[in-house]
Amino acid sequence: GLAEKLQETFKKLRGKGRLTEEDVDQALKEVRRALIGADVNFMVVKDFIARIRERAVGSDVLQSLTPAQQVIKIVRDELAALMGGSQSKIATASTPPTVVMLVGLHGAGKTTSAAKLANLLRRQGRRPMLVAADVYRPAAIKQLQVLGEQLSLPVFSMGESVAPPDIARAAVEKARREGHDMVIIDTAGRLHIDDELMNELEEIASAVRPNEILLVVDAMTGQDAVNVASAFNERLALTGVILTKLDGDTRGGAALSVKALTGCPVKFAGMGEKLDALEAFHPERMADRILG
């Protein structure tokens, strides 16, 4: 891992006497390699290294008997700080219902996460309603309906021939009438460069004014995470991120990329395919995971 690499690097460097700033820059190259290897976007890594450099070339490191440990600590603390500072909570509307909208690329885990979120909110005493606003993917509505059945939670659908903004609007009206204080809207996967479909998201948002717009991101996403995150953030007022499939072995550097580009906190972590597999996001654990 990075710790061993840095030990090696500093051992070689210190062999020649006192550590210098140039030596630390050598070590920071290893940090760069580790972060990019963990799929953090290379531009985000550049900024990150610049950010920590001042502390890294301070006397704490240059005069330390364990410079590798010092650098690791600086990196880890900064990573955790950058990704942290928020709670894994859904904002509540002043007048119900609270509306949550899930958006993101194809296959990221939106439909599954919508159901998981509904399950979680019900456990917290809310009365959620799921909304099937994906009218494109074959059997997408059926998929959400099956999940709703598994949870004994209502799924609002108007079939595949009604426009998603109208579905969302009708859903919120029904929720209001029937006393559902949480409306969770599942939308179709789409490319951030698909103008028409990105417009559709804006239309859904202006139709129902969501309290939360959560970008669902697959934890194994690579360098492209910055493009996706910034495009969605430009079009919509994203309020948070759900990072899915963290039950695998991907290092998950996309978490840092997305936070850096949008400023949005990762609110939840998808930790499996079952409907109870949604956890609060832990920035320190994520930092350790990214560093490998």
Binding site: H106, D218, T221, R251
Partner: protein, 278 residues
């Protein structure tokens, strides 16, 4: 990169960043650029524009030529098993593949071996309808290997040319799920020696370095014969397949470029590498 007047360190760094940005991976990018430096020295290259061409050629060499063919003309039915982690595009790709084979004059049948995920069978049936091919399925929660077995029996009984078996998405790190996949593979092979004739791993172009882990473990479990790289219609370049080819020698057979029935193309290394540098 164009319009450079001299070959200097910043040019090499720029090329390295292009590769990293395309998900080629930092280790691979450093190695490729190092090799490029040697080539430049050896051939005494002094034209900056030549570097990009040499680098592209290096990558093309790794990816190989003419890897796109699928073995569907030897056995009958030719059995194709489609595998991969969750959400990468397996079911959609099977719909496209079915259509592709039908267009080329073959009869196709699908096996709905994802008996776990909500509405997975309905989704495959919808694709079967679009492509005009039958789908063999059991009830929800059935044994995936049993569905695979029945699909093969049906393919033989109906004298179909191609059987494509859809499997549930699964993370390569889940031992029990990988065991389930091995069982499907075993059942097919026991029923028809040589089957499955293709085991296609679907990789999502937006995936980073984890794709190498995926390829390695799926290869260890069921022997992957080819990769289909999906979602190349986005902005991700899918550069991780360079490492997949180089480290595991798995050829890239096809690419998915959209959600429609016809959005499947044979893999073309030259085009892929050119896109990597765009």
């Amino acid at each position: 990169i164009t319009g450079r007047k001299v070959i200097d360190e910043s040019l090499y760094e720029e090329l390295e960043e292009v590769l990293i940005q395309g998900d080629v991976g930092i280790d691979a990018a450093l190695e490729l650029v190092e090799k490029l430096r040697e080539e430049v020295k050896k051939r005494r290259v002094d034209e900056p524009g030549e570097l990009r061409r040499l680098l592209q050629e290096q990558i093309r060499q790794i990816l190989g030529e003419d890897t796109a063919g699928l073995r569907v003309d030897e056995a009958r039915p030719a059995v194709i098993m489609v595998v991969g982690v969750n959400g990468v595009g397996k079911t959609t790709t099977i719909g496209k593949l079915a259509y592709h084979f039908k267009r080329s004059g073959k009869s196709v049948i699908l096996g709905a071996s994802d008996t776990f995920r909500a509405a997975a069978v309905e989704q495959l049936e919808a694709w079967g309808n679009r492509a005009g091919v039958p789908v063999i399925k059991h009830s929800a929660g059935a044994d995936p290997a049993a569905v695979a077995y029945d699909s093969l029996q049906a393919a033989r009984a109906r004298k179909m040319d191609v059987l494509i078996v859809d499997t549930a998405g699964r993370l390569h790190t889940k031992k029990n799920l990988m065991e389930e996949l091995k069982k499907i593979h075993r059942v097919l092979g026991r029923e028809m020696p040589g089957a499955p004739h293709e085991v296609l791993l679907v990789l999502d172009a937006t995936t980073g370095q984890n794709a190498v882990n995926q390829a390695r473990l799926f290869k260890d479990a069921v022997g992957v014969t080819g990769v289909i790289l999906t979602k190349l219609d986005g902005t991700a370049k899918g550069g991780v397949v360079v490492a997949v080819k180089r480290e595991l020698d798995i050829p890239i057979k096809m690419i998915g470029i959209g959600e429609g029935l016809e959005d499947l193309r044979p893999f073309n290394a030259a085009e892929f590498v050119a896109a990597l540098f765009q």
